[in-house]
Symmetry: C2
Subunit: 466 residues, 2 copies
């Protein structure tokens, strides 16, 4: 028995009037007085469910069809015909309806055919992919993720699986999760009374990575064009809609490259992804534009038509100061830009994506390349209308003497970065890259504001058990 | 200045006699008595370096070119010409040689142009991608990883990023790494003196995932075709060449499917990947066949031409017992097959990939579907000639009553699997999938025996600091 996906069925996969079998889950059942039932069935392959028309003449109509509720799993065979109703291309006139899996106690089934709040859906994370909203997020997230790999693969980049468990907290990027196989009830101690991590699995203190960048630089200085795409972790207890403890990050790194090359790469990659999403997930994006964020489609289209505008940080500060706007966070040279500043620059000042570059060294990481002014580093942030910073990157300090100066300045012990400093000894070249948080991007593209709603299994107080 | 990759240059990207600029790292320099230097330059884009012919007439010949050593980073402009030497398609007659990054103290540079042992290279993991061996592994690993995504994407699967940090050890698949943000020196205690994990980051004990399967099943029962592809972790102190504490795993899951469908999916996916590797990485595979494992190419070709042969576990036991072979581990119904058994079946008995199915329930996990004999479960392993088990999968127990029986039998508390059991209450359907370890597959395809040599940053006693 050949199965047709609902996506193919709605596209008229078999010629009208041909026999077809589909499988999926019931979204709604409606019975007409004339003795016809209408079933809406989804299978995850596309946004729209397909409508099944079931005549009461079916042998199991009373006993089965009239018992069907939302969430039941069904196999349906019938004739694919052009739909009379508007908004639907094709529907199926059923000749056979089989329930594969019933819903035990339909009244308590959490996914009823009515709007649910996102807060409620987080509590039933294992069932929420059956909803319109999370189904659409899942498909769009997939298309974004796939298109990121496609972009880099088509352009000759190697995907490097940098370590998830790491011994170094070089970045100082935030609170770390510790990884250990020690027995917490009976921790081994050194003579001094400290915990003896030499007895732990890796023979030293270990953490979850906050970024694969330092590692991927080593591969960049051998393979020229590389990227990581994997999970990263921050143990920051900032319970906002924009922060996750566990999130996926994309980090490309290119050799023989300066900040301009990194900026160009960021623009090319974002536009590639936006194009793919608009063309491959038009149905889901349509839903987001109608129900979640009116500008979901138009703002992507606008970015695709725009040139990214580069503004020097020092100029950006001047623009903000001269704007006459009252900001919550006062503006002066040396501050880190806040979301309100970033959004003003991209939404009001240039009305397009803005790339702010050459930030003060004191607000940036040790590995960013010192500019000749000795005050700023070759860093850049891409600010997009409607969200603010979406990409952060830099040219890296490839000169060992300058890197060491910065390490000393910031009090970072050189021993911990022996291998990283080594790279500057042996055939070092200008290089750089950026980081892009996947969930941030999915949230931006879909308009779904809370990043907890674009990951598969958010934890809440009541459902921590995944 | 437009840069050409060495891959494109060797393919004759510019018409012979045209000007070209390449960038990369020196592998070797050789000087002829006639006053010509030959530089071999690699940039990671392909296996072969390109040969640069440098005449002594170059302005910086004495002062620069004759100082060049292995590992220096260079930018070279010249004329692309057909090579006179054999084995090389094109070479460059240099008109300009610039050293971008020197090698400080060439005698101590670890990557000399001579064979190194894999043990030595593990100690210089940050520089080893510049070698022929690790460069080739990196490109092949990339092609394998990309082709896995391509296969699933082309076939309508959604990539699901299942959680890395998890609260459940349901699988009982082995020793777990604990993840914690607690202060290890001052652990909070409950009144009973136990560690108070309610004060930890997630409010409960948390671990690194050993598999995304249970989570991905929830998405399978909404999206129909899904897969995970991410890092998984086992804190097993088995220090063999086949085990890693951190490794990437691919886990597809399909709905409305039985064990036969799962087996077919495994065969289709493996063949798709093998085809991509042979066609896209012919240069690297040629190297592996010449230098690492003679059958590297031929055994993939053989599998591509073979039908996978399915053998029932019970029949496999009989075949092994009747083989007249003396095995180290004695054979009887109920044992888990050892590598020697697996290799006999695939290499000697059928001389092709073998799929052993329907294993005794006592050696398999709780979630595998009970067969009607109540003794075996719908599990399968794909055994490949030359390595043994490469894929393990099963149909899942979709019937709640049977699942609960197994949980009771195995003493697994039902509360911990509330959401998983829920899936069997609401529109459950037959479904199944498999798991494939990426590093295992890379090791098999390249012939590089130790999985530590197919990951980017192996840890050793001396280089634990990544």
């Amino acid at each position: 028995m050949a199965i047709t996906s609902i996506k193919e069925a709605l596209a008229g996969a078999v010629s009208s009037g041909g026999e077809i079998t589909i499988q999926g889950w019931i979204r709604t059942r409606r019975d007409s007085k004339a003795g016809i039932s209408f079933l809406n069935v989804h299978d995850g392959s596309c946004f729209d469910p397909i409508q099944i028309v079931v005549p009461k003449e079916l042998a199991n109509y009373e006993e089965t069809v009239l018992q069907i509720t939302s969430g039941c799993a069904v196999t349906i065979t019938g004739t694919l015909v052009q739909s009379q109703g508007k908004g639907q291309s094709f529907e199926i006139q059923a000749t056979q309806v089989t329930v594969v899996g019933w819903v035990e106690n339909p009244d308590s089934y959490p996914i009823q055919p009515k709007p649910h709040t996102v807060e409620f859906l987080r509590e039933v994370a294992h069932l929420r992919p059956r909803t319109n909203l999370i189904g659409a997020v899942t498909r769009v997230r997939n298309t974004i993720s796939q298109s990121i790999h496609q972009f880099f693969n088509e352009n000759g980049y190697c995907w490097i699986h940098t370590p998830i468990i790491t011994a170094s907290d070089c970045e100082g990027a935030g609170e770390l999760f510790r990884v250990s196989a020690l027995d917490m009830q009976n921790l081994p101690r050194t003579e001094q009374g400290n915990i003896d991590f030499s007895q732990d699995f890796f023979g030293c203190e270990s953490f979850l990575t906050v970024s694969g960048q330092l590692n991927v630089e080593a591969y960049c200085l051998a393979m020229s064009k590389v990227y990581t795409f994997g999970p990263t972790f921050r143990a920051e207890n900032s319970n906002t809609s924009r922060h996750l403890a566990e999130f996926w990050m994309v980090e490309p790194e290119i050799a023989f490259a300066d900040l301009k090359d990194v900026i160009q790469l960021a623009e090319n990659m974002l536009k590639y992804v936006f194009n793919k999403v608009l063309s491959e997930r038009a149905d889901d994006m349509d839903f987001f534009a109608k129900r979640v964020e009116k500008t979901a489609i138009s703002r992507l289209q606008h970015i695709l038509e725009s040139q990214f505008v580069e503004i020097d940080y020092t100029d950006a500060i001047k623009i903000l100061q001269d704007s006459g706007k009252k900001f919550e966070h006062p503006v002066s040279w040396g501050i880190d830009l806040q979301t309100e500043h970033e959004r003003f620059l991209s939404e009001e000042h240039v009305k397009a994506p803005v790339v702010v570059s050459n930030y003060p060294k004191d607000i940036k990481a040790f590995y960013m390349r010192m500019n000749d002014d000795n005050k700023t580093v070759a860093a850049m942030d891409v600010l997009a209308p409607g969200i603010g910073e979406i990409i952060g990157g830099s040219q890296r300090e490839e000169r060992l003497d300058k890197l060491d100066l910065r390490l000393d300045e910031m009090g970072i012990p050189k021993e911990s970065l022996g291998w990283y400093r080594d790279l500057r000894r042996y055939g070092t070249v200008p290089h750089g890259g950026f980081g892009l948080g996947l969930e941030r991007l999915v949230s931006y593209i879909t308009g779904v504001a809370n990043v907890r709603d674009v990951i598969p299994f958010p934890r809440t107080r009541r459902n921590a058990g995944f």
